[in-house]
């Protein structure tokens, strides 16, 4: 018996099991207590409400949701909108952040000064202010529906959003999208092949040229042809606003702009820090080999800087996901707005709805950080 008592491994397992059991007991106690108290207070409990008709009119829907759908479908609308705004903002913020971060290190004083000013401005202002600033800025800058800015008489821009025509039959576009995906895969294959060849022989393949062809020209041509063969639902002014077409609401634009500019300020600093963490000798060695500054940056410095940048970048991406809930402040129908806002008050089932929302953020967040950890493992220094 005492043998086990003194065994470090057995002791460790014992404490871990005890901790888990304690945690499980605490959760069971809390759940039981809460449901008993709610029962006594006459509050409805359970998850049946998810199948009730939602009746909520959502202004920006990418799924097949209508107010006649159930609350589960409403939840899905919120999740989709959160994912879409996060994805767009993360991509845009990364691109903008890299540009600003590199500009910050530019020998050109004006450029680095401007980049520095932007970073300091952005990092010292609360995000809510940013969101409201963009929102009321966007609304104020755009005209009312009757004075819409017409883009070739098919798309219209006003303070109700950007109204674009949609194809009445989407099949041509689905084929075009498939072609674009194939082009994307082809580009990835070329990039991997080019890297292998460069590593083996040192010869550089113009990946950007094929990228331009595959990622810009192919989509333009594919969608162009799809657009020509499809018939269109062109928005027309009727009543208060345009009818028909798809509306990109100003809330989306404002939230996208706010998240992008705000996060880009932080990413820029991460990029600057990453590049500066690469010792000067690496630059000098690259120059000594005859690489031009661009090549030295892209081939020598950035690959090493990436290792430093990935972990803080992951935090920023997770921040974007969480900060997308600021959309609730300006009525962008993301997860918090439609589910915790509308559905919660309509059904009154606060605990269930908050728990579902937490679980969804957790799952998305873990997926993002899982992907970034995989990428981190892939790019980290291989020591022999």
């Amino acid at each position: 018996m005492t043998r086990y008592f003194y065994d470090k491994r057995v002791r460790e397992i014992f404490w871990q099991v005890a901790l888990l059991a304690g945690l499980a007991a605490a959760i069971v106690l809390i759940v039981r207590n809460a449901s008993q108290n709610m029962l006594n207070a006459g509050m409805a409990t359970g998850f049946d409400f998810l199948w009730r008709t939602s009746g909520i009119n959502v202004p920006f829907v990418l799924t097949s949701y209508t107010p006649d759908s159930n609350i589960l479908a409403l939840l899905w609308v919120g999740v989709t909108n959160t994912l879409v705004i996060t994805l767009f903002s993360v991509i845009a913020a990364t691109l903008l952040g890299f540009v600003i971060g590199i500009a910050r290190l530019s020998p050109n004083k004006l450029l680095s000064g401007l980049a520095g000013a932007f970073i300091e401005f952005v990092r010292n202002i609360p995000l809510l202010f940013f969101v409201l600033f963009w929102y009321f800025g966007v609304i104020a800058a755009l005209p009312g529906p009757r004075q819409s800015i017409s883009l070739f008489s098919v798309a219209f821009l006003n303070n109700r959003g950007l109204i674009v025509p949609v194809a009445t039959d989407g099949s041509a576009f689905r084929i075009a999208a498939l072609i674009v995906v194939l082009a994307l895969i082809a580009q990835l294959v070329i990039a991997i092949w080019a890297k292998r060849r460069r590593d083996a022989t040192g010869a550089i393949f113009p990946v950007w040229a094929t990228g331009l062809a595959l990622l810009v020209a192919v989509p333009v041509i594919a969608f162009g042809i799809a657009a020509m063969v499809s018939s269109w639902d062109v928005p027309a002014l009727r009543g208060f606003n345009f009818r028909g077409g798809f509306v990109l609401v100003p809330e989306f634009v404002a939230l996208f702009a706010a998240l992008t500019t705000y996060t880009a300020g932080f990413i820029a600093e991460i990029v600057r820090g990453g590049i500066q963490s690469v010792v000067k000798g690496q630059w000098e060695a690259a120059y000594a080999l005859g690489l031009r500054p661009n090549r030295a940056l892209n081939l020598v410095v950035i690959p090493q800087a990436m290792r430093v940048m990935i972990p803080p970048l992951t935090s920023q991406y997770l921040n974007v996901l969480k900060n997308s809930s600021f959309g609730a402040a300006i009525a962008f129908p993301e997860l918090v707005s439609v589910f915790v806002g509308s559905a919660l008050t309509n059904t009154g089932q606060a605990i269930e709805i908050i728990a579902i929302t937490l679980a969804i953020y957790l799952v998305i967040g873990l997926a993002v950080s899982g992907f970034m950890n995989w990428y981190n493992a892939k790019t980290k220094l291989v020591t022999r």
Binding site: A41, M43, A44, N57, I139, G144, R160, E251, I330, A331
Partner: protein
Amino acid sequence: MTHLARGALGAALLAFGAGAAGAQQLAPSPTLDAIRARGHVECGVHLGLPGFSFANDKGEWTGLDVDFCRAVAAAVLGDANKVRYTPTSVQQRWPVLQSGQVDLLSRNTTITFSRNVTLGVNFQGINFYEGQTFIVRTSSGAKKPADLENASICVAAGSTEERTAADFFRERNIKVTIINFQKNDDAIAAYDAGRCDSYTAGIGALAGQRIKLKTPGEHFIMTETISNDPQGPVTRWGDERWQAVVRWVLNGMIAAEYLGVTSKNVDDMRANSKSAEIRRLLGADGGFGAMLGLSNDWMFNAIKQVGNYGESYERTVGKGSPLGLERGQNQLWTRGGILFTSPFQ
């Protein structure tokens, strides 16, 4: 019978006699006990709706719903000023009430079936009746809700207005865009900034909100309503005696108007009125206050310090206020309205 047994019987009889002769036994009321212990009523009100619950530039809360909180404080504690207000948004109001943070909610809240049965709350009567309608810019030319085709409408997410508006346009196959904000104030600010063509709320609430717009004169409140919105004070389930206090303070304010008792004549009425119901209402007879566990001058205090329903209405939302609303349906049942009280008998 032993001496001991006789003594015990005697003691029991004595105790029973003392109980019968003394104060009547009351059901326990944790809420009333808590209010007395802390010395003020906790009242959940609107974040800021002129005429209903609005903090003026001196930080004093005024309005029809605030008056009701004050009347309850006067009835329970004898002082209408012993109220602490908790401003709540559309979404905060339920957890704040359910968790016991406030004793009652007096916050132009519509009485609905699902709120009553799934949130564990009871509505204690109607202190304001209205219908939902729309405010638009006069220049838009829209005169009735059906004119709002393709309009963008700002609402507070989770309000009855959100659902009512969505249902109304869906049933009529009229396409509109409904933009759901977290707070009424955010929604009205977006309407004012031009994001929406219309903002929707109860007709009384709109009269209050219009005052807050940049140029109130350029906005038109439609007269056609699309809903049935009875509103009143809310309590949580349990503690029946406290719920009865809230219910009967509201009834008492309406009864006072019906019986012609006002804050001006209430002293005279209590001393000299021959009407049996007035005497019971004001505590001159009947001991009604004691039956609730309050002092017998509970309604006397409420009417003296706050006024009857009509006085409160005229001062806060009626002709004596910037809102200038008619009594309309919020008139006594004897004068063509729907407000009524059960008798104080």
